[in-house]
């Protein structure tokens, strides 16, 4: 081999290398392998919206269970529940991740807030993952606590949870079933008997005292003016007394309703916070 041959070969190699590199200038970044690395990086950084776009492009060329799962899970994380559910469903048959996919499918139903749909699936035993059955069972109970309606028996409701949290859950259950509500009719009747008493009953002590004071004062002024033959002022204060008296009755009924609404709202917040702080008792799945 002469020097010329070697020089020619080297030159040829160089040209091939340059040409190859130039065509790869951009395609390298967008090759499926690199795209996957980048998508996983975005996913781990919790930039799910961008990870979605990358996984979508990858799935056009490769169908892989883990990628599909992450793709679906990204939808779940960004709150696009319908698309998440559809993609998890594609992993239900003959996939090594079918148990995780089914579990995540139930999470999708749960976080979408459609608790009735969750229960239809759970009660019908549809797509129930054996491996995560206990977790789904807890989520099912959580739907009742969060919806605060149609609670099943207490033992059934708290059975899926650890002993350490059962006292609190029993308290929530009792508060939902028998909330210490105030009856608006009772409040109105109490105020009809003694102005402001209905407000005391609803916990509005200051309002109750003002209502009592205003009614008594205007009543006294009405009587006093009539006794002194001030007819106009007598009637004026009589009207005022009637106004305060009626207002006290109406206000007491209204305050009892407000008390009940606040009770429900506070309980709702407390339950939501309780489950949120514990991440709804969900296990962490790393895939």
């Amino acid at each position: 081999m002469t020097k010329t041959h070697i020089a020619f070969m080297s030159f040829f190699l160089l040209i091939v290398s340059i040409a190859k590199s130039q065509t790869n200038v951009q395609s390298d970044f967008f090759s499926n392998n690199n795209r996957l690395k980048f998508a996983n990086h975005l996913y781990n950084e919790k930039d799910y919206l961008r990870a979605l776009g990358e996984y979508k492009e990858i799935l056009k060329l490769v169908d892989n269970d883990t990628i599909r799962f992450r793709f679906a899970n990204s939808f779940l994380k960004v709150g696009r529940y319908d698309e998440a559910a559809q993609n998890f469903k594609t992993l239900f048959v003959s996939s090594k991740l079918q148990e995780e996919a089914k579990f995540s499918y139930y999470q999708t139903l749960f976080f979408s807030g459609d608790y009735n749909d969750f229960r239809i699936n759970y009660d019908g035993g549809f797509y129930l993952p054996q491996k995560y059955y206990k977790v789904i069972d807890r989520l099912n109970s959580a739907t009742y606590f969060l919806q605060q309606a149609n609670l099943p028996g207490e033992s059934k409701l708290i059975k899926p949870f650890d002993d350490s949290v059962q006292t609190k859950l029993i308290y929530f259950s009792q508060m939902i079933k028998n909330p210490p509500k105030k009856n608006p009719v009772t409040a109105a009747l109490l105020s009809a008997a003694i102005p402001g008493a209905g407000k005391f009953y609803s916990g509005e002590i200051t309002d109750g005292l003002i209502a009592l004071g205003a009614t008594l004062l205007s009543g006294f002024l009405a009587v006093n003016n009539f006794q002194n033959n001030h007819q106009f002022r007598g009637w004026l204060f009589t009207g005022l007394t009637a106004f305060f008296y009626g207002g006290s009755i109406y206000g007491s009924a209204a305050s009892a309703k407000i008390y009940n609404a606040k009770l429900k709202s506070d309980l709702n917040k407390e339950i939501k916070l309780y489950f949120e702080e514990r991440n709804y008792f969900l296990p962490k799945i790393e895939l």
Partner: protein
């Protein structure tokens, strides 16, 4: 011959590394084009892609800066600040660090965290590396004060440079147009309606004065006629009602007038002002 092959091999390696760098540059250009077409979401993705694949730290500051600009354009100011901080941290020279910090100040001005913006301005001012850039620091400090509705201090900051005459004039105009809320209330205590007239609401002020005088006359008249109960009733239900209303109106109208003056200037700055804005 062996040495010849060695040279060829080294040459190949060199070209390959140059081309790898070219590929990062090309991708960066691609991301910049997306950024220039205002597709900020996609631009962030592409900048993050370069960031992920580039091992050359010289790109980091620029990339973080561009990502931050995209977030800022999308009004995600917290995220923008996070990336400007990273840009400053990886800045390879003082100029890049300064620009990143100025951007952090601008984001703080926009999200109205004035105290933080001013603190960062002070830090920059104390930094000897940026001694030649005092004018720019005064400029952004002035903007921070304007967004905090402190036009007097804003004018003081702008007056530290010769180039900001327009802004000094605008701040001066707002200061001139504004009224003192405390003064409006105090004169209303003394003469009902005076605070409202001072705030430019002449008719409302006169009405307050008339109502207060009439109610005051009725109250005094009732007491003079030994009708103490009537006097107390009129004083509480009529006179004090108008007197208190007069005080509340004096405060509300003064605040409203000040807000109008400030908003007029802010609107001008937003739509007409040609200089750099936060």
């Amino acid at each position: 011959m062996r040495s010849y092959i060695k040279y060829v091999f080294v040459g190949l390696l060199f070209f390959k590394s140059v081309l790898a760098q070219n590929s990062v540059d090309a991708q960066l250009d691609y991301a910049n084009k997306i950024f220039e077409s205002s597709k900020y979401f996609d631009a962030i993705t592409e900048y993050k892609r370069v960031l992920f694949f580039s091992s050359d730290k010289k790109y980091y500051s620029k990339l973080y800066y561009q990502i931050a600009l995209c977030y800022k354009a999308g009004a995600h100011l917290d995220e923008a600040i996070k990336y400007f901080v990273l840009s400053e941290k990886h800045a390879s020279n003082d100029s890049l660090a300064f620009n990143a910090k100025i951007e952090i100040i601008r984001c703080n001005i926009l999200r109205k965290s004035t105290a933080r913006a001013l603190q960062l301005c002070n830090e920059l001012e104390d930094d000897i590396r940026f001694a030649s850039k005092k004018d720019e620091i005064y400029y952004w400090r002035g903007w921070a004060f304007m967004f905090a509705d402190d036009w007097e201090n804003a004018a003081k900051c702008f007056s530290q440079s010769k180039d900001y005459n327009e802004l000094i004039m605008l701040c001066g105009q707002v200061v001139k147009d504004k009224v003192s809320v405390t003064f409006a209330k105090v004169i209303s205590y003394i003469l009902p309606g005076a605070g409202q007239i001072y705030s430019g609401k002449i008719f409302s002020g006169l009405m307050s004065l008339v109502w207060s005088l009439a109610a005051g006359y009725l109250t005094v008249n009732a007491f003079m006629a030994n009708r103490a109960f009537d006097g107390l009733l009129i004083a509480e239900l009529v006179w004090l009602r108008f007197y208190r209303g007069n005080l509340e109106n004096a405060e509300d109208f003064a605040v409203e007038k000040n807000m109008l003056a400030a908003n007029k200037t802010l609107k001008y700055l937003e739509n007409e002002y040609k200089g750099v804005k936060p």
